[in-house]
């Protein structure tokens, strides 16, 4: 359960080769900074990958949210390997299928469609947060 353990850790794709990776990161920041700032926090995937004690401590035993840019699902794997009790995944490539008109482009600087896609993914993640809180009796 997420209740009582503080903020829900959120890991995003670290890929820098495709727009969907960038949209994943932007979605994580929208979730954590704009939509659910009191309930979520970003954890760096590279720190989890390298077994950083502090980063793993934030994840171990917690419900966590992964926002992945491709089917390799590195963020979800990173969270699972770090001891998350349950990993709830948002796959950007599925989100884009649900918003067929969007054509995300750019990596350092996403275009407007990329930002819209990120917002849509972040809103899905926010609903996940609300569901977790409701499960934990916090809603």
């Amino acid at each position: 359960m997420s209740g009582g353990r503080g903020k829900i850790p959120v890991a995003a794709c670290s890929g820098i080769g495709k727009s969907l990776g960038a949209a994943s990161r932007e979605a994580a920041h929208i979730l954590v900074e704009d939509l659910r700032p009191k309930r979520t926090k970003v954890v760096a995937l590279s720190l989890l990958v390298m077994g950083d004690e502090e980063a793993r401590g934030e994840v171990a035993g917690a419900e966590a949210i992964a926002i992945d840019g491709c089917k390799l699902a590195c963020a979800a794997k990173g969270l699972a390997c770090s001891g998350a009790s349950r990993v709830h995944g948002i796959a950007i490539f599925d989100v884009v299928r649900r918003h067929r008109g969007l054509k995300p482009e750019g990596i350092c600087d996403l275009n407007e469609d990329g930002l819209r896609l990120a917002r849509a993914a972040a809103e899905e993640a926010a609903r996940l947060v609300d569901d977790l809180d409701a499960e934990g009796g916090r809603a």
């Binding site: 900074e33 760096a44 390298m50």
Partner: protein, 150 residues
């Protein structure tokens, strides 16, 4: 003469999503890849090393790599060495910031400010220098560290 594949350098950014310095690594690496040294570089995805991306690991075993880290935890350099081979060079953003006098507010991990963007440009230029150096010299004789021990 056989048409041998061109030697390339793999760039591995830490991409740390928590810190502005992580965003600097991504922007700097993309700048090198897209503009400064497009024919000499490729990017490798750091988390794929853990997720078992054999293509990434194999490339880093057989081609020189440059790790670009945001902080002195040096996740990119350590991950590359752990799963493939020691990077030919290591660039650390905080060390470049100190060396170039780029202290102060960089912006956020989500949006770099003017100082962060300027620092990303400095880091990109440093990476490009390292690419040139790595390609000029035999791999095993090259050991450059910028801001950290190898």
């Amino acid at each position: 003469m056989p048409d041998l594949p061109k030697r390339k350098v793999g760039l591995i950014a830490c991409s740390g999503e928590e810190l502005a310095e992580g965003t600097v690594t991504r922007r700097a690496v993309r700048r090198v890849l897209e503009t400064l040294r497009p024919d000499e570089t490729v990017t490798l995805c750091l988390p794929l090393f853990l997720a078992g991306g054999e293509g990434e690991r194999a490339f880093a075993r057989h081609y020189p790599t440059i790790a670009v880290d945001g902080c002195d935890k040096r996740c990119a350099a350590r991950a590359t060495e752990k799963h493939s081979a020691r990077p030919a060079a290591s660039v650390v953003v905080t060390a470049i910031a100190a060396a170039y006098g780029r202290g102060g507010e960089l912006g956020t991990a989500r949006r770099l400010g003017p100082r962060g963007l300027a620092l990303a440009e400095d880091v990109a230029m440093k990476i490009a220098e390292e690419v040139d150096a790595v390609l000029e010299k035999p791999r095993k004789s090259r050991r450059i560290e910028t801001g950290g021990k190898g």
